[in-house]
């Protein structure tokens, strides 16, 4: 029995072997990038002495980049042509969320401003 049969690894063609290396590297890069993008906002909140507005901005920026990293490396959503449907669905969902979530915030904070100023954090 060859070593390969002992390890019960499926016989991989050269192409598949290359693909495995590339895909595994993708997951590792995704993990590292996500880790860095997690450490930055936690570190900023824990240790940095900066204005709240800048802090909110940096947290939001890290979160958005990390979401893109997750979509790209873990969910394999790319700009490749045959995947456009999946990406379109995400963009459509974002549109719906912008309208409904943004509309909610707009209406209710306007209402607070006019009637219940105490509710504005």
């Amino acid at each position: 029995m060859s070593r390969r049969a002992l390890s019960k690894k499926r016989e991989l063609s050269d192409e598949e072997a290359k693909e495995l290396v590339a895909e595994r590297r993708g997951y590792v890069w995704g993990l590292l990038a996500a880790l860095v993008l997690t450490l930055i906002p936690f570190g900023l909140v824990a240790y940095a002495e900066i204005e709240p507005l800048t802090l909110y901005g940096s947290i939001a920026a890290c979160a958005i980049v990390q979401i893109v990293v997750h979509f790209r490396f873990f969910l394999h959503i790319t700009l490749a042509r045959n995947k456009r449907e999946d990406l379109q669905l995400i963009l459509f969902t974002l549109l719906i969320l912008t309208i409904m979530g943004g509309g909610t915030l707009w209406i209710l904070f306007n209402l607070y401003y006019r009637m219940m100023p105490g509710m504005i954090p």
Binding site: A22, L31, L35, V45, A60, C62, L75, H76, D86, T93
Partner: protein, 207 residues
């Protein structure tokens, strides 16, 4: 580029798993549509939470209730579990035996359970500080958003156990493969929702 043509979100199994690939593509796309509608639900609960931020009614607020350390640990656990599920997907795609697949899945399951345990411990601490859902609108909104994510993780863990059972009984047939690919999408998606939760709810609240 000689990469496998991408047919659906998540890792594609490629030509070596060509059995039932058309059905798989449809089923996974359907699941993707469901995931996106789930995304809308979470998005609206986030909006509700932001609207209720000021409604503490004199009760405890974010600074009294949240602890950064345990949130950080939960974040790392969930991120690692996403990675281990990725490794399980690779084992599914490139290995014939189920052993590495099952090991990675069990590691993922344990991380998922650890996450839920940590989150429950967090809620328990919050209850101890008077942060019960009926105390104020702010805490009600918190408990409609964050535990919903926890419930999703719990459901994913139960699904994972069911799939482990199916692997044991049926082996890796095409239904089990499809199930694993869909669960992978759910698992990675829940990690994305968690990014929004720790950024907006916890870090935003502790700023």
């Amino acid at each position: 580029m000689t990469r496998t043509a991408m047919r659906h979100p998540g890792l594609n199994l490629g030509p070596a798993h060509a059995d039932a690939e058309d059905t798989r593509e449809e089923m996974i796309f359907g699941f993707w549509v469901f995931m996106m509608s789930d995304f809308v639900i979470f998005g609206l609960l986030f909006a509700t939470y932001v609207v209720m931020l000021g409604g503490t009614a004199g009760g405890p607020g974010p600074h009294e209730l949240f602890e950064m350390k345990s949130v950080f640990i939960e974040t790392l656990i969930l991120l690692t579990s996403s990675f281990t599920f990725g490794m399980a997907s690779l084992a599914l795609k490139y290995r014939e035996d189920t052993k590495p697949l099952v090991i990675w899945l069990i590691v993922t399951l344990l991380l998922g359970v650890a996450f839920i345990a940590y989150e429950l411990k967090d809620f328990h601490t919050m209850f101890g500080k008077g942060g019960v859902p009926s105390r104020s609108g702010f805490i009600s909104a918190f408990f409609s958003l964050v535990p919903l994510h926890g419930l999703h993780v719990l459901a994913a863990c139960i699904w994972l156990i069911a799939l482990l059972g199916q692997i044991a009984v049926h082996g890796l047939d095409s239904f089990v493969k499809t199930g694993l690919l869909r669960l992978a999408i759910l698992w990675h998606f829940l990690d994305i929702v968690w990014i929004c939760i720790f950024s907006l709810v916890y870090l935003g609240g502790l700023t």
